[in-house]
Symmetry: C2
Subunit: 249 residues, 2 copies
DNA sequence: TGTCTAAAGTGGTCAGACCACGGACTGACC
DNA sequence: GGTCAGTCCGTGGTCTGACCACTTTAGACA
């Protein structure tokens, strides 16, 4: 369970695996930095003592992991770490599980509650201003479900960013693709009525105020309350839909 | 930000990318299940209209992502979703960041605090018994730092498992490699003195009791207290070490 | 001086061959 | 008849060398 790479545990790693771990280690150690350009495939193959197809298998794998950016006619460049691959991996990992869309919300709550606690301790004035800005956007986009949804996401993302924890941030980014799917699915159930949206804005404002007052316990409490309201709302709408009173077209 | 795979957004996906997304989609849709055996490389290449090297690049990439298990002389088999790749991806993603080892603890706290809340609501009797069992192991291995550390990890893992949330579980498994590194690093600083270890056991017991009583707020409170004590302890030991009073050899 | 074209360098693809490993079949031996 | 060993076949692993497609660039031409 502890070994990072399965191939390392084998006694006889094949060529492509060797090349893969070769680059991975240079990437981990910082010997290769984002933006660096790799040698040509022919030269690299020669230098590493493998054939070009084998080298390409390794390079392609690294590219699929988002570590390399290979461009036709240009060359291969080291790519800055990107959470999108994490998201992809998580999606694939969770694919066979049932009710992932609901379950990923738990991960979201986990990350955000800890993030807002940290944010209470660490957030700079600029961080707070950034969050306040998303709050304004949220208010301005009350009537548009599309931009409203984006503003909602931006608010929560800004909180996680304000935590100053890159680990929380990366994980949050990783779950955000699934979060989006969950959000879209939910929008099928709940409808943005004025009463609901205004309550939503108020909840966000309450969260922000507690954060601005640097009160971790209160901030988390309000954040949890906000999530629970959303959950209740969704449940009620689901029930009413099944009762045939849904307003869906 | 929403697109799962970068290649999909390009207008002209190259062969290996096409094959890669082909299999990825079948994996996501469940058309390919864990344990399924793929056709031979030669047949697959023919069927998909690409050459064998190109097909191999895609297959190798899938294998690197942990989705395929390719064995020499046997064939390629669909692999059950595994969090180890997630851990690898996360490690690579966080590699350039400073102080990851400390930062990943924040993610750990985030996951566990939410997990224990869920566990209070959802944990079955078997889950509780499993946690209790790890607690016993913890007590039995007080004198051995090695097995003691493992028992410690097992206890926390059991709580996350008891949450019944596969998303939390996967993320927890994903950070566990980094958590281990952090743990090892910490063990250089803190020493397992009887007073400390007994306090540790007591803290774990308190957490478990609150969980068994199905009290989410209290369980989370005690869990946070447990983490903070560990944090304080580590800080103090670090200070004493720098003061030249460290007992390290 | 500006633009266009051709060449060089790079990744992308292909075909065919051979090697290495694993399992299954078959034969001999007990 | 059962068991074991050797062989054969299917599989992935690797290599070679060639050609295509894209990008950049430098030289030629207007």
């Amino acid at each position: 369970m502890l070994d990072i790479v399965r191939q390392d545990t084998e006694e006889n790693p094949s060529g492509a695996d060797r090349v893969f771990t070769f680059f991975r280690d240079r990437l981990l150690s910082g010997e290769l930095k984002a933006g660096d350009r790799l040698l040509g495939e022919r030269e690299l193959a020669l230098a590493l003592g493998v054939s070009r197809p084998v080298l390409r298998e390794a390079l392609r794998s690294l590219a699929m992991l988002g570590l390399l950016d290979i461009r036709h006619g240009r060359g291969a460049y080291v790519r800055s770490a990107d959470a999108s691959v994490l998201g992809q991996a998580l999606t694939l990992c969770l694919a066979p599980e049932p009710n992932i869309l609901d379950d990923v919300l738990q991960a979201r709550i986990a990350i955000e509650c800890q993030a807002i606690r940290l944010a209470c301790l660490r957030a700079s004035e600029r961080d707070l201003q950034a969050i306040a800005a998303t709050l304004d956007t949220l208010v301005d986009s009350l009537d548009d479900p599309e931009t409203g949804g984006e503003a909602d996401y931006a608010f929560h993302l800004a909180i996680v960013r304000a935590s100053g924890s890159s680990a929380l941030m990366k994980i949050y980014e990783a779950i955000s693709p699934l979060l989006m799917r969950s959000h879209v699915e939910r929008r099928r159930d709940t409808f943005r009525e004025p009463a609901i949206t205004s309550g939503l804005v108020e909840a966000h404002r309450q969260v922000f105020l507690a954060l601005a007052q640097r009160d971790p316990d209160e901030a988390e409490r309000r954040l949890r309350a906000h999530f629970e309201i959303g959950d209740d709302l969704r449940r009620k709408n689901l029930i009413s839909t099944y009762q045939g009173q849904g307003k869906a077209s």
